[in-house]
């Protein structure tokens, strides 16, 4: 076995162990923590399809997450739609918003893409907090987001809801693994490596970028729906720029461009947040410092520690 395979296996084992912990350990705090980690991890692997695979830094993913959360909330509470159709609608909503944002943001590339997605997401944030008050409840948010209602299982029990999250997460992970290994995923990598060359090879670069963004939006939408349901609550806070920043930090910390790295990044982020916030109210600043050190010294994030240094930016099929 090469170092790469050993590292990947090790990462997979760690993640599997993390998912298993809440099933074996008593104590609500593990269930809640890993629930949160898995939902954010789903968000992060979707984000990384745009960032790590296609090479576009989106600073507007908060809007995609939030739109999914609001879609699920409004549909279930105001229109009595079932949970699963509403979760599907959350994915569609995220994808649709990503498509609309892409119409503007994909006219520019590189750093401008980051700035434009940020500006567009801020616009959504302002709309949700003020203009769409009737729909979104303004800054107060909407309490009472429901849990799934399936097979007569009581998902208001956090352990049962955790199992639901695990199923959705594993499906999402499997789909993403397939996508990344598919010709589509390889074409996205080609766009990241050299967009001019990719287009000369006959790829429609714009369409590829747009599709990656839309798929990523669907992942964000589902995560937003699950998150609102986990908290029983949604507010424009989910749309705040800090949310976009968080998912970016998690992905970089874990290792952008790798499938499993961002999941570990989320886990480390949430664990640090959990531990640091008990010690000091300035945990976010300390996290920022750790993040800065990681960008300087940990080129490929946590995944780089497992993969070894030979894995510069290409990531292979990982």
């Amino acid at each position: 076995m090469t170092r790469r395979t050993v590292g990947q296996t090790l990462m997979a084992v760690i993640i599997a162990a993390m998912i298993a912990i809440p099933f074996f350990l008593p104590g609500e705090q593990w269930v809640n923590l890993v629930s949160l980690i898995l939902i954010w991890a789903l968000f992060a692997i979707g984000f990384d399809l745009v960032f790590g695979v296609t090479g576009m830094l989106s600073f507007g993913h908060a809007a995609l997450l939030g739109s999914g959360g609001y879609a699920l909330t409004v549909l279930t509470l105001s229109y009595q739609v079932g949970f699963l159709p509403a979760l599907l609608a959350a994915a569609v909503m995220g994808a649709l918003l990503a498509f609309c944002m892409g119409l503007f943001a994909l006219r520019v590339s590189g750093l401008f893409f980051a700035l434009l997605t940020l500006a567009l997401a801020q616009m959504v944030y302002i709309l949700a907090s003020n203009k769409l008050r009737a729909l979104t409840g303004g800054v107060d948010g909407i309490p009472g987001v429901p849990r799934p209602d399936l097979f007569g299982i009581n998902f208001y029990d956090n352990r049962n809801y955790y199992a639901f999250i695990v199923v959705v997460f594993l499906i999402g992970l499997a789909v993403m693994a397939l996508l990344r290994a598919s010709p589509f995923g390889r074409a996205l990598r080609a766009v990241q490596a050299n967009d001019t060359r990719a287009s000369q090879l006959g790829h429609n670069v714009h369409a590829l970028r747009q599709s990656a963004f839309v798929v990523s939006g669907a992942y964000a939408g589902i995560s937003g729906g699950l998150l609102a349901s986990l908290m029983f609550y949604i507010s424009p806070q989910m749309l705040h720029w800090a949310t976009s920043g968080d998912v970016m930090i998690m992905t970089v910390l874990g290792g952008k461009g790798t499938l499993l790295g961002p999941i570990l990044g989320v886990a480390v982020f949430e664990l640090l947040k959990e531990e640091l916030s008990q010690v000091t109210q300035y945990w976010y600043g300390i996290l920022g410092l750790i993040f800065i050190l990681a960008t300087i010294f940990l080129r490929n994030g946590i995944a780089g520690l497992f993969h070894g240094p030979d894995d510069q930016d290409q990531g292979g099929a990982s």
Binding site: F104, R107, I126, G245, L289, T295, I296
Partner: protein
């Protein structure tokens, strides 16, 4: 009339900030996300100086200098290490800086609003074209115009400006000619930080000083640099005027819609001239 004055003072303020942003981008290729945080820091430091010395003018002078020194330190300790990598890493690093600066500010000054009193000689309103204009606003316009002029002279006419322009357009060639590009980079980042903090110090009497002030302003600056063309200082001044006046008119006639108006301006620009209104080159930053 007061709309015009408010618009102009807003425009110059935006220009001070986006000039620094654009200058840093032109030289370092870095979009400094922490620019808003440095602006906020400028306001807090000037508040502290006013608290200690009682003089607004000392605050206006020393706060930018202190923040500029901090900027130089940041560049040397952190940014220098990631120049060789993709631009995205520099952006990530400056984003991390926001979190650190925000929490450090919280630690030092706490959560509550701070207020810097308007300097005494500028409290009286001035009658101008039949309306009462707060004289501090006029001062902001005059001061902003002066600083802008100074900046143009520095960049366009002085030897330092020539070195900065040379190092921006071709760092390797400048290095061959014996210019210490590393020092120029540190200097430019410090200059950008200086301008950001100057903006903060001069805004301090106009607004409550609070933790969120950095981020709301950075979005406006991004809008300015996108409209003006990134790395283009002349574009930045027109775009600042455009945005400042739009916001001032918006505040007077449609307060509810001001934020959306800003974004409409941005989207409109990108639809019709994605390379920025005042840029001739293609955009591939």
């Amino acid at each position: 009339m007061s709309t015009l004055i408010i618009g102009l003072s807003l425009s110059f303020l935006l220009f001070l900030l986006s000039a620094g942003l654009t200058l840093i981008f032109g030289m370092l290729g870095v979009i400094n996300f922490a620019h808003g945080a440095l602006y906020m820091l400028g306001a807090y430091v000037s508040y502290q100086i006013v608290q200690i010395t009682g003089s607004f003018w000392l605050g206006l002078l020393f706060a930018p200098l202190i923040v500029a020194a901090l900027g130089a330190l940041i560049e040397i300790v952190a940014l220098k290490r990631v120049y060789s990598r993709d631009h995205i890493f520099q952006l990530l690093l400056t984003f991390g800086l926001i979190l650190v600066i925000d929490d450090a500010t919280k630690l030092i000054w706490g959560f509550d609003y701070k207020q810097v009193p308007t300097p005494e000689m500028l409290t009286a309103p001035v009658a101008l074209f039949g309306s009462q204009i707060p004289s501090y606003r006029l001062f902001v316009i005059a001061f902003g115009a002066l600083v802008s002029l100074g900046l143009f002279l520095l960049l366009d006419r002085s030897k330092w400006g020539m070195i900065i322009r040379a190092a921006s357009s071709d760092a390797d060639m400048a290095r061959t000619l014996g210019i210490d590009v590393n020092q120029v980079r540190t200097g430019v980042f410090a200059l950008g930080s200086f301008l950001a903090a100057l903006g903060g110090a001069i805004t301090a009497p106009l607004v409550p000083i609070e933790l969120g002030m950095g981020f709301s302003v950075i979005i406006d600056c991004f809008v300015v640099v996108i409209i003006g063309g990134l790395g283009n200082i002349r574009g930045a001044i027109f775009a600042s005027l455009l945005l400042g006046m739009t916001r001032a008119v918006g505040f007077t006639y449609a307060t509810e819609w001001v934020e959306l108006l800003t974004f409409a301006l941005l989207i409109g620009t990108l639809m019709f001239r994605p390379e920025g209104l005042f840029s001739y080159k293609g955009r591939s930053a």
